[in-house]
C-alpha cells in the first residue's frame, strides 16, 4: 500500500514540481496570457514531433534514444541541399524529407547495429554515438560540401570555397508548414485589427469573447503532429508494436517465442531516427535559420528533458507525457529568464536555471529508474520464499 503510494508520487512528482515552479514563475515574469499561449503553441508545433520520435525505442526497451541527433543531422543535410537547389515552399520541405530519409535509415541501421553490440548500456552508447556521428557530420558539411558534394550557391559557402557557413537562412521554407493553413484565434476587438495588419487573406478566424489580442495557430503543423500521434497509436496496435513491447519487457522470452529480437530493435531505432529527421525539418522550418554546426546539438537533450518532465521514465512513455512535457518544459523556458531577471535582476540566472533543470531532470529520472530497477530485483528475490519461514 505504502509502496503503491510511493510509486504514484514518484511517477508524477516531476510534472507536479514543474507545475508549482511555473505557478510561481508566471506571475513573476509578467507575461500576458495570450503571449504565453502564442509562444506555447509555436513551441508545441516546433518540438512535439521530435519528442514523439523518442517513444518507439522506449517501447522496445532501449531507453531514451540519445541517438536521435543522428536523425536531426540527416534532416539538416536534406535542408542544406534543398536550400542550395533553391526548392522552396512545401515542395522544398518534402524534398528535404526525401533526401533525409535514406540518410536517416542508413544512420539508424548503423546505430541499431552498434546498440545491439552494447546491450544493457544502450543509453550511454547512443549518447557517445551522437558525438561520433557529429564528427562525421562536421567532416561532411565542413569539408565535403562544396568539394565532393557540389554546392552552387556561394552565399552558403565559407569564403575559402568549400564548407558550409554556420548560419544558413531558410527563407524559402520558413514557416511554410505553420502557415499552410492560416488560422487565428482572437478576441472580438482584436479581429479587425489583426486582419487589417495581416491582410484579409484566407485566415480561419475563431473569435472568442473576453479575449484580448490574437493568437496565430500553426494549424497544418498541428495536423501533422496529430496524424503522427495517430500513427503511434496505430503502431502500438500492430504486431510489430506488440513485438517491441514484448522485447522491451524480456528479450529472452521474446527470443524464445521466435521474435527476431535484434532485427526488431534495429527497426525501432531506424523508425526513431527517420522520425527525428522529419522532426528536425519541421523544427527548422519554424525557426527559419539553420545553425549548421549547433542546431542539432541540443535537440536530443531538450527533447529528452521535455519528455521526462512530462512524467515519462526510461522504460515507459506515452503521448500524453509528450504534450504535458512540451508545455511544462517550454513554459519554464519562456518564463525562467524573465522571472529570474525580475527576481534577482539578472536574466542570466534564469537562463542557467533552465539549463540546470534540463540536465538535472534527466539525471534524476535516470537515477530513479536505476534505483527502482535494483529495488524490484531485490523484491523479486524476497518473493521467491513466499510466506513461509521467517519474515
Amino acid at each position: 500500500m505504502i509502496r503503491k503510494l510511493f510509486d504514484i508520487i514518484a511517477n508524477n512528482a516531476v510534472p507536479a514540481v514543474f507545475i508549482i515552479i511555473s505557478a510561481f514563475a508566471i506571475p513573476l515574469s509578467g507575461y500576458s496570457a495570450s503571449y504565453l499561449i502564442q509562444e506555447l503553441l509555436t513551441r508545441i508545433g516546433r518540438n512535439s514531433f521530435l519528442i514523439l520520435s523518442l517513444l518507439i525505442p522506449i517501447m522496445a526497451g532501449m531507453g531514451l534514444n540519445f541517438g536521435m541527433v543522428l536523425g536531426a543531422m540527416a534532416g539538416q543535410i536534406g535542408l542544406l541541399l534543398v536550400c542550395d537547389w533553391g526548392v522552396v515552399g512545401i515542395p522544398g520541405m518534402v524534398l528535404a524529407c526525401l533526401i533525409g530519409t535514406p540518410i536517416a535509415i542508413v544512420l539508424g541501421l548503423f546505430c541499431g547495429g552498434v546498440l545491439n553490440r552494447a546491450k544493457g548500456r544502450e543509453m550511454v552508447t547512443s549518447y557517445i554515438l551522437g558525438f561520433f556521428i557529429n564528427g562525421v557530420y562536421q567532416m561532411v558539411v565542413l569539408y565535403f560540401m562544396g568539394w565532393i558534394i557540389p554546392i552552387t550557391n556561394p552565399a552558403m559557402l565559407l569564403s575559402r570555397g568549400y564548407g558550409v557557413r554556420n548560419a544558413i537562412s531558410l527563407l524559402g521554407i520558413r514557416g511554410v508548414l505553420d502557415n499552410l493553413i492560416p488560422a487565428v484565434i482572437s478576441g472580438t476587438t482584436a479581429t479587425q485589427q489583426f486582419l487589417s495588419v495581416n491582410g484579409n487573406g484566407a485566415f480561419i478566424v475563431c473569435q472568442l469573447p473576453f479575449f484580448e489580442g490574437y493568437i496565430r495557430i500553426p494549424l497544418a503543423t498541428l495536423i501533422v503532429i496529430a496524424l503522427f500521434c495517430l500513427f503511434i497509436i496505430w503502431f502500438r496496435k500492430t504486431k510489430l508494436g506488440q513485438d517491441m513491447r514484448a522485447i522491451g519487457q524480456s528479450q529472452a522470452v521474446a527470443d524464445s517465442a521466435g521474435i527476431p529480437v535484434n532485427r526488431t530493435r534495429i527497426i525501432a531505432i531506424v523508425i526513431s531516427t527517420v522520425l527525428a529527421c522529419y522532426g528536425q525539418i519541421i523544427y527548422l522550418q519554424n525557426m527559419g535559420t539553420l545553425n549548421t554546426y549547433n542546431s542539432h546539438d541540443q535537440t536530443g537533450m531538450f527533447s529528452i528533458a521535455a519528455l521526462l518532465i512530462g512524467g515519462a521514465s526510461v522504460s515507459h512513455a506515452s503521448i500524453a507525457n509528450v504534450f504535458v512535457g512540451v508545455i511544462l518544459f517550454h513554459l519554464m523556458f519562456i518564463v525562467a529568464p524573465v522571472a529570474g531577471k525580475n527576481l534577482v535582476g539578472d536574466a542570466q540566472i534564469g537562463e542557467y536555471f533552465r539549463v540546470f533543470v534540463s540536465y538535472g531532470i534527466i539525471a534524476i529520472s535516470l537515477v530513479l529508474h536505476a534505483w527502482r530497477r535494483n529495488r524490484e530485483k531485490e523484491a523479486a528475490r524476497r518473493s521467491l520464499r513466499g510466506n513461509k519461514g521467517g519474515n
Binding site: 500492430t238 513485438d243 513491447r245 521474446a254 524464445s256 521466435g258 521467491l384 520464499r385 513461509k388
Partner: protein, 561 residues
C-alpha cells in the same frame, strides 16, 4: 489434436546417445511415444533428462558440441531438428521449468505471443504482416478457449505479473495447447510451484488433454504424482534408460531405488543442472527430525530455523547440528535449497534464524563476521563468486586471508599497509605444489586455468584461511575425473590432519556417501532427513523424491494390503 496414424508411434527414439567432450552423458536411449499416452520420465539431476530434451528440441548446444547418435522418428519419418521451432512445427511442444512469460502482458497476450491474431490490411502487401493490427477480441476468445481446455478459470485479460504463481504454470501450458498442431507435450516439473489443489487441477487437465489425443511426457520428482498420472514410467540413470514399464508395475519405493541405485561405473561429468523453481505453498510432508545423538558433544555448528533468500535455492526452515571434526554432507535435488544453506550461513544472501558456532551465535548477513569466526567457504559458482578471473593466482589464493586476517601485508595496521607480493607468491607456490595445480606459475590469470585447477585454487583459498569450519559447495561440479578424486581426497586428508569440520554440499549423492559421515537431504527448502552415509541408497532416494519415511510406509502397507 491432429489426426495421426495410430500404427506408427508419434515419436520414436532409436538408440539416442550423446557425448560431451568425450564424456558420455546419454547412451542407447530407445523408446516410443504414442498418441494419448502419458509418460512419466524420472531421474536424478544429471541423469541425462536435460540433454535428452535438448536433443529432442534441437537446441543449438547439441549441434555445437558434435551432434548426437541414433535417430529420431516422428510419424515413422526420420527427423533431425536444428532449432526448437522445427520441433514445434512437428507438433512437439515444451513447458519449461522457469516461466517464459512476459510479466507486463495479459494472459491472452502471453498465450498468443508471436502467434497473435491479426487483422488483414493492404499494408501487409507493402511491408510484412508485422504491420497488421492485432485482433484483440479474437485473441481473447482463443486464449479463453485454451485456458478452458485446462479446466481452470483464469481471466485472459489478467496481467501475468499480478497472477498467483500457480496460474502462470497454467498459462504456460495453455500457450502450448493453443498451437493448432500440438500433439506431444513435454512438461518439466510442472507441479513444482503449484499448491496441492492446483496440482490436482493440473493433473486432471492433463488427463483430459490425453483423452483428446495429445501425448504427454511428464517430468517430475514427485513420484506419487507420476504414479497417479502416468500410464508408463521411464527411469533414467547415468544416461541410460533403466526401466520402461507400465506404472502399475512399480511402487514409488521401487522407482526411487531405480533412480538412485548405482552401479560401479559412473558417469563423470554432468553437463547441465537445471534450476527448478521452488514450491512456495504448503506441502503436507513430515520432516524427519535428526536422530538423537548418543553422546552429547558440543556441536561445531548448530543451525536453528534458518531461512535464506537465495534465488533458485530458497531455504525455508532448516535446523541441524554438526559435530566437531565431522564431515557433513548436504544433498538434494537442484533448486530445493541445499546450496542456500552454506551461502546463507556465510552471509552471502539475506538469511534469518540462528546459527551457533561452538556455542557462540554467529551474526548473519555479514560475510566478514562469518570469516572472522574462522569459517571458510568454497562457492558452487566458481567463476561468478569463487575467483577473480582477471587476476593472477596468488591474488586469488591470498586475497581473502589478506583482507580478513591481515596477512601478506607490510606496513602499519589500520594506517598504511601494502601487499607483500613476495609472501603472496610464496604462499601461492606452496599450494600450487601441494594441490598440484597445473599452471605456468603463481602469476597466471585464474581465468586461464581449466575447471579442475580452478577448483583447486578455490580450495587453496579456503585452506589459506586455516579454517575451523570449511563449507564447500559442489566440490566436483564440472571437473574431470582425475581432478575429482584428487579434490575429494584432499578434503578427506585435510579433515583427518587438521580435525577441521567440513560441510559438503553436492548434487552427487554417491560422492557425499563416499566422503561424509552423515548426509542431510534437503527437499523444498527443508531438511527431509539426516541419515548416516552408510544407509542404503534408496533411502536417500526416497527422501529426495519428496517421499518422507511415513508416506513410504503407508504406501508399502497399501501395496502389501
Amino acid at each position: 489434436m491432429s489426426d495421426n496414424n495410430n500404427n506408427a508411434p508419434l515419436l520414436q527414439l532409436d538408440h539416442i546417445g550423446k557425448e560431451f567432450y568425450g564424456n558420455r552423458v546419454l547412451s542407447d536411449i530407445t523408446f516410443d511415444i504414442h498418441a494419448g499416452e502419458i509418460i512419466g520420465l524420472v531421474g536424478e539431476n544429471g541423469a541425462g533428462k536435460s540433454t535428452l530434451l535438448n536433443i529432442l528440441f534441437g537446441m543449438p548446444v547439441i549441434a555445437s558440441t558434435g551432434g548426437y547418435e541414433g535417430r529420431l522418428q516422428v510419424d515413422g519419418k526420420n527427423v533431425r531438428f536444428t532449432s526448437p521451432n522445427q520441433a514445434l512445427a512437428h507438433g512437439i511442444g515444451m513447458v519449461h521449468q522457469e516461466f517464459s512469460l512476459i510479466p507486463g502482458f495479459t494472459a491472452a497476450e502471453n498465450i498468443l505471443l508471436n502467434r497473435e491474431v491479426l487483422n488483414g490490411s493492404i499494408m501487409n502487401y507493402v511491408f510484412s504482416d508485422r504491420v497488421s493490427t492485432l485482433d484483440r477480441e479474437a485473441m481473447h476468445n482463443r486464449a479463453s478457449a485454451a485456458i478452458h481446455t485446462l479446466g481452470v478459470n483464469i481471466n485472459p485479460d489478467m496481467i501475468v505479473s499480478e497472477m498467483p504463481v500457480g496460474y502462470k504454470q497454467f498459462i504456460e501450458i495453455a500457450r502450448e495447447i493453443d498451437r493448432k498442431n500440438t500433439r506431444l507435450l513435454f512438461l518439466d516439473e510442472p507441479t513444482a510451484v503449484l499448491t496441492e489443489t492446483e496440482a490436482d487441477i493440473l493433473l486432471t487437465a492433463l488427463k483430459k488433454l490425453a483423452k483428446q489425443g495429445i501425448a504427454i511426457v511428464f517430468i517430475s520428482h514427485r513420484l506419487s504424482e507420476v504414479k497417479t498420472l502416468c500410464s508408463r514410467i521411464l527411469v533414467l540413470r547415468d544416461g541410460r534408460l533403466i526401466t520402461d514399464q507400465p506404472a502399475e508395475n512399480l511402487t514409488t519405493r521401487e522407482i526411487a531405488a531405480l533412480m538412485v541405485g548405482r552401479e560401479s561405473e559412473r558417469k563423470e561429468i554432468q553437463v547441465e543442472f537445471p534450476s527448478e523453481p521452488v514450491r512456495v505453498d504448503d506441502v503436507n510432508e513430515e520432516i524427519i527430525k535428526p536422530k538423537k545423538k548418543k553422546k552429547k558433544v558440543k556441536p561445531a555448528i548448530k543451525v536453528e530455523h534458518l531461512w535464506v533468500d537465495m534465488p533458485g535455492e530458497t531455504v525455508r526452515d532448516v535446523s541441524f547440528e554438526v559435530k566437531k571434526g565431522e564431515i557433513f554432507g548436504i544433498g538434494g535435488l537442484a533448486g530445493h535449497g541445499k546450496l542456500g544453506i552454506p551461502n546463507g550461513i556465510m552471509g552471502l544472501y539475506p538469511a534469518g534464524g540462528k546459527v551457533r558456532l561452538f556455542g557462540r551465535s554467529l551474526t548473519l548477513n555479514k560475510p566478514r563476521a562469518a570469516l572472522n569466526r574462522k569459517m571458510a567457504f568454497v562457492s558452487e559458482d566458481r567463476r561468478g563468486v569463487g575467483l577473480l578471473l582477471d587476476e593472477p593466482l596468488d591474488w586469488n589464493i591470498t586475497f581473502t586471508a589478506m583482507q580478513t586476517q591481515g596477512r601478506f601485508l607490510l606496513g602499519i595496521p589500520y594506517i598504511c599497509q601494502f601487499r607483500n607480493e613476495y609472501a603472496m607468491t610464496k604462499e601461492a607456490k606452496k599450494y600450487i605444489e601441494a594441490l598440484s595445480i597445473k599452471c605456468t606459475g603463481p602469476h597466471q590469470l585464474a581465468g586461464e586455468l581449466s575447471g579442475g585447477n580452478q577448483q583447486k585454487v578455490c580450495l587453496a583459498k579456503a585452506f589459506v584461511l586455516k579454517p575451523n569450519i570449511l563449507l564447500i559447495c559442489e566440490p566436483t561440479r564440472g571437473i574431470d575425473i582425475g581432478a575429482k578424486s584428487l579434490v575429494l581426497d584432499t578434503l578427506k586428508n585435510y579433515n583427518k590432519e587438521n580435525g577441521t569440520t567440513i560441510i559438503i554440499t553436492s548434487s552427487e549423492l554417491e560422492e557425499l556417501r563416499s566422503v561424509c559421515d552423515r548426509v542431510a537431504i534437503v527437499d523444498e527448502g527443508k531438511i527431509a532427513g539426516i541419515l548416516p552415509a552408510s544407509s542404503p541408497a534408496e533411502d536417500f532416494g526416497m527422501l529426495m523424491m519428496g517421499q518422507t519415511k511415513q508416506a513410504n510406509d503407508n504406501e508399502e502397507e497399501e501395496a502389501s494390503a
